[in-house]
């Protein structure tokens, strides 16, 4: 059975961290699972965790008055869910639901923040990695603003 630091090391998000840093982070992590349809977080909840999805899919939904909730993104296996734990006011911006059985590694956001504050090398390394996650989402959002299917085709 893989140890948590091994699982974490296999994620591209944490690639390149030292073994010591991985073990440090693993100290703030635990395995979790969510059933299909289970709510992981609601908009406005304290963002006290982020997740490395190992199996399954998670949806981010936004409530729209008098309409069905709009599904604005999905996060699949291998990806990281959540960066609100890193940035004040540390609140989830969307409703987060498992659309199928999800197995994930959950990271305690406050624990990681404390460790980053006491170990600025680790803090910088993690900030660089989460900046890539955030920039990736920003670029994907910008591309979607282009409405790439909207122009005429054959």
């Amino acid at each position: 059975m893989k140890t948590l630091d091994t699982v974490i090391a296999e994620s591209p998000v944490f690639a390149g961290l030292t073994q010591e840093q991985l073990e440090f982070i693993a100290g703030c992590a635990q395995n979790v699972h969510f059933e299909a349809g289970e709510h992981i977080a609601k908009r406005g909840d304290a963002a006290d965790a982020f997740y490395l999805i190992r199996i399954g899919e998670i949806a981010l939904d936004v409530d729209v008055p008098n309409k069905k909730p709009v599904r604005i993104d999905t996060v699949e296996a291998g990806q990281v869910l959540g960066w609100s734990w890193l940035i004040p006011p540390y609140q989830w911006n969307y409703d987060v639901t498992a659309t199928e059985l999800v197995r994930a590694v959950s990271f305690d956001g406050a624990c990681i923040r404390d460790k980053c504050a006491s170990d600025t090398v680790l803090g910088f390394a993690l900030l660089m990695r989460f900046s890539q996650v955030i920039v990736g989402r920003l670029q994907a959002t910008r591309l979607r603003l282009l409405d790439i299917y909207g122009t005429d085709t054959h």
């Binding site: 604005i72 591309l143 282009l146 790439i148 299917y149 909207g150 054959h154």
Partner: protein
Amino acid sequence: MAQTLTETAGSLEAMTPAPYRVTDKRQDTYDTWTFELEPVDGAPIVPKPGQFNMLYAFGVGEVPISNAGNFQTDERLVHTIRAVGAVTKALCAAEVGSVIGVRGPFGNTWPIEQAVGQDVVFVAGGIGLPPLRPAIYHVIKNRSDYGRFVLLYGARTPSDMVFLDEVRGWQREYDVDLDLIVDVGDTDWKGKVGLVTKLIPPANFDADDAKAFVVGPEIMMRFVAQGLINRELPPEAINISLERTMRCGVGLCGHCQIGPTLVCRDGACYTWDQVADFLAVKEL
């Protein structure tokens, strides 16, 4: 081998629309319809995967529309048309029993037979699926000749997807690795949400031994091609279908020129390495 009308450029036959009757019409999305057509008289047009016809709404104008039929079984022409301009709106208004003009088939074909023994990856955006449909049916008919069969399909919303029941049937019956994605869904949507490019990294194909066939708006194909190249698929293994304003369809008028090529005559199917530089030029 059947001669295409492109090879008879300048002939009366190439420039004269043949009357075709609408025998069936189905609404796919709020602005898109699929038509079945058969000749009022004479021999039917026999297109190949990747070719297009010029469809003429009498008194309004002509537009190039890809063939979307299952050439393995369909004797009628099948065209999926999105009502976005005067001509396509007139065509989409045609009712069963009415007559439109058809010239064709024009253009080259998908090099699907060159992918025998390899994995095949189809990537469609919006109503980019219908132009791929003849090639997909070719693979289905010859399923054992090909390796993994991947179909990645993205659209703006679930209701903008066409042939969705048929696509899910392919997944069930022909071992298709299907992945669907929309820009925006609702809580009933069971697929992924995001850009179609998001489906490429986890797609199940061997980039050393695969060919991709991509159809959608040009900007989508650009990002998809980059995603496939990031998976180390060679540019010459990425096939796209280009769209340009066409008038004659036989390489005479020059409206569809892009760089040194005329899309109606030399395309509309190209490999990415053939056109990538030209597509990067603004207003070309």
